[in-house]
């Protein structure tokens, strides 16, 4: 894999993606050559800004005096503390995934098959947590179940010292993944398939179990794997809610790197996480490929109807209750706390954000400036992600070969690789000519684009693949050259998806924390970094300001998402 690159040291030129394929297109190999050409830019991007920094930091941790100290891997892995972290990381991810599925699958069914007023709005609302920065999620749950939180005030209940806070925050965060992935497919399954089974003598449940469930199973598996991946690599949530007792691999990597300066341990942990994520992605890739098998899909608008009978109304009611308690309540508490100042409700915290002085040296600049920084960085990151991800998706449109599947998996890796490692890797690799970007503002958007690209690819790919090749042929017969046919046929059809992809990239860039926290300069923090810094300081003013800033961040993300929901089509991706 990318890490087997012992010769890469900090001073060397970054590895470049092979370009030969695009330079010498042989006549018979033309489609392949075009594809390689399209892949060149994403490959170069990932080589320089992902593989190289990660490889560099791992090799720095594991090399000494020019020799590999592989014994360290054994040392670190044998350490009970490491095993404890690994064990906790795995079981909390499993528990979070199980809990998310249990709570979100009924939701997926309700959103897929029931028609009720306010459904579109509610679907947008449950998606808000997914694009929320993890730091804000942590802050929201702290306000709900933490010390002095809502539950504490009402009943004296505190969950922030238990693992429940983490699990609930993970469900909050990933509810939308299940509802969208599973519900999206469920809504498009032809109900007549089940009717056919009923006519052939299957009971209501047997028909569901034998017809719908098998069709749905790969989507459920894909969603579960995605949730597992996100919770396995969880950073911001655990960093804020875990306290000293609970830490995931990602948090441990952060602490080893940033606080204990123990690079060898961090390098080994990075490798462990990398291997685990790679395995997960391979399994996910297989599952998704099976999901693309021939299913009869119909227009989602035709399958939903109003609930009938007491049982269906009860189901709808309980799903709405779960959404209200789990999704709306934390968000509401967060907003409430941001207004709950020392002198009663008011804008005191928001006003404090406007000046640097009141923060006891937490900031060089007024926290409010973080809004401008974040928007600027996120816009640039979106631009990069759309170009890189768009080219990658175009290269992957024609499915099939092993090469493209490997490329597909490679694009997903940054989602699961330790963002902390990437951020720190940026610092130690991109500081020398020709890539001396240490003082450049572009460093932050580059790191953020890394997590944006997978979303762009996942959103664009299904739409690009859904364009019927024969429409292009029809255009060609009518006299359109291949480029013209692409412009006239493909582009209008994917324009909307491109907008949606850009919106997602924007939202995740806005919320990126793990890498940004390393590379954002002290005088230009982003919103999540500012929130984390405020939360890390004692005092009610800092806490209140963190809530206020989180509320602002949430509103920006929600606004981006609502715009997306307006232009969204049914077949526009997995997220």
């Amino acid at each position: 894999m990318v890490l087997d690159r012992p010769e890469v040291t900090v001073s060397e030129k970054p590895p470049r993606a092979p370009l030969s394929g695009s330079r010498k297109p042989r006549r018979t190999m033309r489609p392949t050559a075009v594809r390689l050409g399209l892949m060149a830019v994403p490959l170069a991007f990932f080589g320089v800004f992902f593989a190289y920094p990660v490889a560099a930091i791992v090799s720095r941790g594991l090399r000494e005096d020019g020799r590999w100290q592989l014994g360290r891997i054994g040392d670190v892995l044998g350490d009970p503390a490491t095993l404890h972290v690994l064990w906790f990381t795995t079981w909390q991810a499993l528990a979070s995934t199980a809990l998310t599925l249990a709570l979100a699958l009924p939701g997926a069914y309700v959103f897929a098959r029931f028609d009720f007023p306010g459904k579109r709005l509610l679907r947008a609302v449950v998606t808000v947590p997914f694009v929320l920065p993890t730091v804000v999620v942590g802050a929201a749950f702290l306000a709900l179940v933490g010390r002095g939180g809502l539950l504490d005030e009402l009943w004296g209940v505190r969950l922030d010292t238990t693992v429940w806070a983490i699990l609930l925050a993970h469900v909050f965060f990933n509810y939308a993944v299940v509802v969208r992935t599973v519900g999206g497919l469920w809504a498009q399954l032809d109900p007549r398939q089940e009717e056919a089974a009923r006519v052939l003598g299957a009971g209501r449940f047997a028909a569901w179990r034998r017809v719908t469930l098998p069709a749905l199973a790969p989507a459920v598996a894909a969603a579960a794997l995605m949730v597992f991946l996100f919770t396995f690599t969880s950073f911001g949530v655990v960093q804020i809610l875990g306290g000293p007792r609970y830490s995931t691999l990602e948090v441990e990597i952060y602490q080893q790197t940033a606080q204990l300066l123990d690079l060898p341990t961090a390098a080994v942990l990075t490798l462990v996480q990398f291997v685990a994520v790679a395995v997960l992605l391979v399994v996910h890739g297989r599952t998704v490929r099976r999901r693309e098998s021939a299913l009869r899909l119909v227009d989602a608008a035709r399958t939903a109807r109003r609930p009938r009978g007491a049982a269906q109304w009860t189901l709808l009611g309980s799903v709405l209750a779960v959404v209200a308690l789990l999704v709306l309540l934390p968000l509401a508490v967060l907003v409430l706390r941001s207004f709950d100042g020392p002198d009663g409700y008011g804008l005191a915290f928001y006003r404090a954000l406007a000046s640097a002085g009141d923060n006891g040296g937490t900031f060089v600049v007024a926290p409010l400036e973080a809004i401008g920084n974040s928007l600027g960085y996120a816009l640039a990151a979106t631009g990069i992600a759309v170009v890189v991800g768009g080219l990658a998706a175009a290269a992957l449109t024609r499915r099939g070969s092993r090469l493209t599947r490997g490329f597909d998996a490679l694009l997903m890796l940054p989602l699961g690789t330790s963002a902390v490692t990437v951020g720190f890797g940026f610092l130690i690799t991109l500081d020398e000519p020709p890539l001396d970007l240490r003082t450049s503002w572009i460093l932050v958007p580059l790191a953020q684009a890394l997590v944006g690209v997978p979303f762009v690819v996942r959103t664009m790919l299904p739409v690009l693949r859904a364009v019927d090749a024969r429409l292009r042929e029809a255009a060609a017969v009518l006299g359109a050259s291949p480029l013209r046919a692409w412009r006239e046929v493909d582009l209008p059809m994917v324009a909307r998806a491109l907008g949606i992809a850009a919106g997602f990239a924007f939202a995740v860039s806005l919320g990126e924390f793990g890498a940004t926290v390393f590379i954002a300069r002290p005088d230009s923090p982003t919103l999540p970094v500012a929130v984390a810094r405020l939360l890390g300081r004692p005092g009610e003013l800092n806490y209140g300001q963190a809530m206020a800033l989180s509320t602002i961040l949430m509103l920006v993300c929600a606004a981006a998402l609502l715009v997306l929901e307006r232009v969204r089509t049914d077949r526009s991706g997995e997220f």
Partner: protein, 341 residues
């Protein structure tokens, strides 16, 4: 000089030859229908001519020019896809105008031509309609107008009427034939429906497994199917092995009269159902009636003789015997055809 010529065109998918050394010519202003069961390579033939399918061997010539290496968009042919493939994001006018825009036709001229073509296909004033809102027959007409708009030198139709209901299909076949005659369009169409092919074509090409099984006018093919495959594909099932001697042939059905010019020796004989006459049991081949199929203006009677394959006889509505009855059968030499293989 023929407008289209195929010289030994071969296309292989893996090891299977979908087109196997096909030679074909289409003259200017001629309508040729390729007829064959699904999987016989008809659609691939059209894709080869359009340049959408590379050939493994052979050449395609349009107006005498070798098309090897000429990309689809420079071949100036029209192709109407089986499922139309109208551009969903464009309205009717935008679809019809597409080919003209690709050729850089001016705006005023394009508009005039779109209006003219929509009038021609019977959808006047439909320019602003969404293609999603059209019925199957209307989509058909828009697809036709779109294909005709750039005045292609050759118009190709892939199962042009396949998805339409019967009455609409029969009406459109007549309209299409009249239209192509009026415009002088050269047409190469493929279909699996013999009725459609015979009604539309000047010449019919029957294909089997990537090869051409027979070429001829609709009347020739109908009257003299060249082989058992063609005969059975056209729906004739009264086929029996025979030994011809003079104007008589010896078969499992007994002696069958054959037309005077029939070659001597072993062959297979086809007796069209119209040539199977029902007579009293004593006067012909004794058969039992096993079934009847109502065919509108006549009844197809299924007969089982004591020996040899089953027979079908066409007879009038009132004269048809009941299943279980025993009848005699005699043959008319007019409706007997010797098949080559």
């Amino acid at each position: 000089m023929s407008l289209l010529r195929l010289d030994g065109v071969t296309v292989r998918f893996g090891t299977r030859a979908v087109l196997d050394a096909v030679d074909l010519e289409v003259a200017e202003h001629e309508t040729v229908c390729v007829l064959g069961p699904s999987g016989s390579g008809k659609s691939t033939l059209l894709r080869v001519v359009a340049g959408l399918q590379p050939v493994d061997a052979g050449r395609v010539l349009l107006s005498g020019g070798d098309q090897t290496g000429v990309p689809t968009h420079r071949r100036e042919v029209g192709l109407m896809f089986q499922d139309h493939q109208l551009f969903p994001q464009r309205d009717v006018g935008g679809n019809v105008a597409f080919g003209l825009r690709m050729r850089g036709t001016g705006r005023a001229e394009t508009e005039r031509r779109v209006t003219e073509l929509l009038d021609l296909v019977g959808l006047p004033g439909a320019q602003r309609r969404s293609v999603a809102a059209l019925s199957g027959g209307e989509q058909q007409r828009v697809a036709l107008a779109r294909a005709l708009a750039p005045r292609p030198r050759l118009l190709m139709l892939d199962e042009p009427l396949g998805q339409l209901d019967r009455s609409l299909r029969e009406r459109l076949v007549v309209e299409l034939r009249e239209l192509f005659g009026r415009l002088g369009t050269t047409v190469l169409a493929v279909t699996h429906d013999q009725g459609e092919a015979f009604a539309l074509a000047d010449r019919v090409v029957v294909m089997r497994d990537g090869r051409i099984a027979q070429v001829g006018t609709p009347l020739e093919v109908w009257q003299r199917p060249a082989s058992e495959f063609v005969a059975r594909f056209l729906g004739f099932d009264n086929v029996v092995p025979a030994t011809v001697a003079g104007e008589r042939a010896d078969t499992a059905w007994g002696e069958v009269p054959v037309p005077p010019d029939t070659p001597e020796g072993e062959c297979k004989l086809l007796v069209r159902p119209g040539g199977v006459r029902l007579v009293p049991v004593a006067e012909g081949l004794a058969c039992e009636v096993t079934g009847r199929t109502f065919r509108g203006d006549h009844v197809l009677v299924l007969l089982r003789p004591a020996d040899g394959p089953e027979l079908e006889a066409s007879c009038g509505l009132r004269a048809a015997p009941e299943p279980g009855e025993r009848v005699g059968v005699a043959f008319d030499a007019h409706d007997v055809v010797a098949l080559r293989d």
